[in-house]
Amino acid sequence: MAVSIRTDGEAAGLASSSNRSATGASWDQPILLRLVSIVLFAGIWEVAGRIPVSFAFPTFSDTIVAFFGLLADGSLATAYLSTLQPLVLGVVLSAFLGVGLGTICGLWRTGEWLVIPVFIVLQAAPVAAFIPMVTFVYGIGMTAKTLAVMILALPVIVLNTYKAVRNVNESLLVMCRSFLGTRWQTVTKIILPDASPVIFAGLRLGVAAGFVGVVLAELLITPTGIGDLITFHRSRADYAEMYATIASIIALSTLTLVFLQWVEVRVFRPESRGA
């Protein structure tokens, strides 16, 4: 005999999270607001370019035209082909190494004492200063560029993961133990999902830092890829092309972060999808 007891009050409590979207006009829709924000930004850029603020400051429309020009002649594609290799390699390595190291340090005291101080120093240091040193040791190839990405991306990923694992919800750990979870199950089914929001915050910061690293490396070490394209157009005073290149890498970085957030919500925190 089943006991049925759902009261109206309880059922009503359920609705509170879903009825939010029904209120208000189109201004409540974040997509529209974001579009307005972009249009506003482009408008101000256009006006500033027409004044002009500086002879080296192109208008928004010139930049867009230059962007399609760079797309058409293939120089953008060539540049990204060479930039993306160390970037993707460095970011992926940093993500796996960073989350792995951070998790181990969060779970294991000795590891914490060995590893964490190094990354606290690295995070505090102006890491760009290391880049000439990396060039000195590893030359000007792919290795140096990948290392530049990792030097910038790794500390924040390690430290965020470590903190998240350290501060995992104690009562869920007790719950897992009382239902006979093994150590491995506790890590994979409780600790990592519980830590995932903070780990992903670290990954987003790390990926953004990785973009900084690769551009720095291309400006400072090897004149290739996006860094070279920026330098080249600056030297020829093609400012619209230069701005188009810069804007393209910013856009790519932003899209990557948005994608990362999408993956996080999709895969790790389905409960926050509607919220």
């Binding site: 005999m1 089943a2 006991v3 049925s4 007891i5 759902r6 009261t7 009050g9 309880e10 409590g13 359920l14 999270s17 009562s171 869920l172 007790v174 719950m175 897992c176 133990r177 009382s178 239902f179 006979l180 979870g181 093994t182 199950q185 089914k189 409780i190 999902p193 519980d194 995932s196 790790f268 925190r269 389905p270 409960e271 919220a275």
Partner: protein, 267 residues
């Protein structure tokens, strides 16, 4: 209806014929604070026993020692005659703060104990679905904990504990984070649930009314150090309308008796 059976003092309690949990000489000290001293208790099979007492009497500590979640400094706990020091499949715990995984649906939360045991997905979801219905949450399988009220969340916690088919259910102040109306509804359901499920319940509470309302047996603990001060078996007929119990004379008398006994520990 019989009179309230009352046994006074920490004098030896005659062991019930069939006790599933046997606690012997349990003691526990936190730093300088003696939480429990020489606890000797038997929990009869198939009954609901409450551990009742003012804060600081060690009732939750005792429950967690029985659960194997914290080690005792001395003494033993035996379940079905076997000594235990760690959690086991014959016990399931219901937590005061629910301890639900916020990223998991009601279904996955309820089936989690079975998931940890390696039961395959189809089987564990079939079992979980049955207990979700049993606690009155049918239709809420795909909701997340943050979409539920406090009372409903604790029903999820109860369904999770029922799903692993343990002999003993350990409930640590399960209603303390639930509002008053839902608590009363939940207490009524627990009485009904108990007649359907052939399980032993050990229930920690600081509410005298709650203990008398639902318990076959109440163990009164006195604080500093925590010791058994009294064991009471309220003989209340719970077969009829659960609403009626609140007006039952034996119910009211027992509440009053316990209050008189506990008064001395309240400043």
């Amino acid at each position: 209806m019989g009179a309230t059976a009352l046994r006074n003092g920490p004098s030896p309690v005659p062991a019930p014929i069939d006790s599933i949990v046997e606690v012997r000489e349990i003691s526990k000290t936190y730093g300088n604070v003696e939480a429990l001293r020489g606890i000797d208790l038997d929990f009869p099979r198939g009954k609901l026993t409450s551990l009742l007492g003012p804060s600081g009497c060690g009732k939750t500590t005792l429950l967690k020692i029985i659960a194997g979640l914290i080690p005792a400094d001395g003494g033993t706990v035996a379940i079905n005659g076997k000594h235990i020091t760690a959690p086991g499949p014959e016990r399931a715990f219901v937590f005061q703060d629910f301890a639900l995984m916020p990223w998991a649906t009601v279904m996955r939360n309820v089936a989690f104990g079975l998931e940890l045991r390696g039961t395959n997905k189809a089987e564990r979801e079939a079992i979980a679905r049955r207990y979700i219905a049993e606690v009155g949450l049918a239709g809420f399988e795909d909701k997340y904990p943050h979409q539920l009220s406090g009372g409903m969340r604790q029903r999820v916690g109860l369904a999770r504990a029922l799903s692993v088919d343990a002999d003993v259910l350990l409930l640590d102040e399960p209603f303390s984070a639930v509002d008053e109306q839902n608590r009363r509804k939940f207490q009524e359901d627990l009485i009904r649930l108990r007649t359907n499920q052939n399980k032993t319940f050990i229930f920690v509470t600081h509410s005298i009314e709650e203990a008398v309302y639902i318990s076959d047996r109440i163990v009164l603990l006195s604080p500093r150090p925590g010791r058994v001060s009294q064991i009471i078996e309220p003989e209340i007929d719970r077969s009829g309308d659960p609403e009626r119990i609140h007006r039952d004379r034996h119910y009211l008398d027992t509440v009053e008796e316990i209050w008189q006994g506990l008064k001395q520990y309240v400043e």
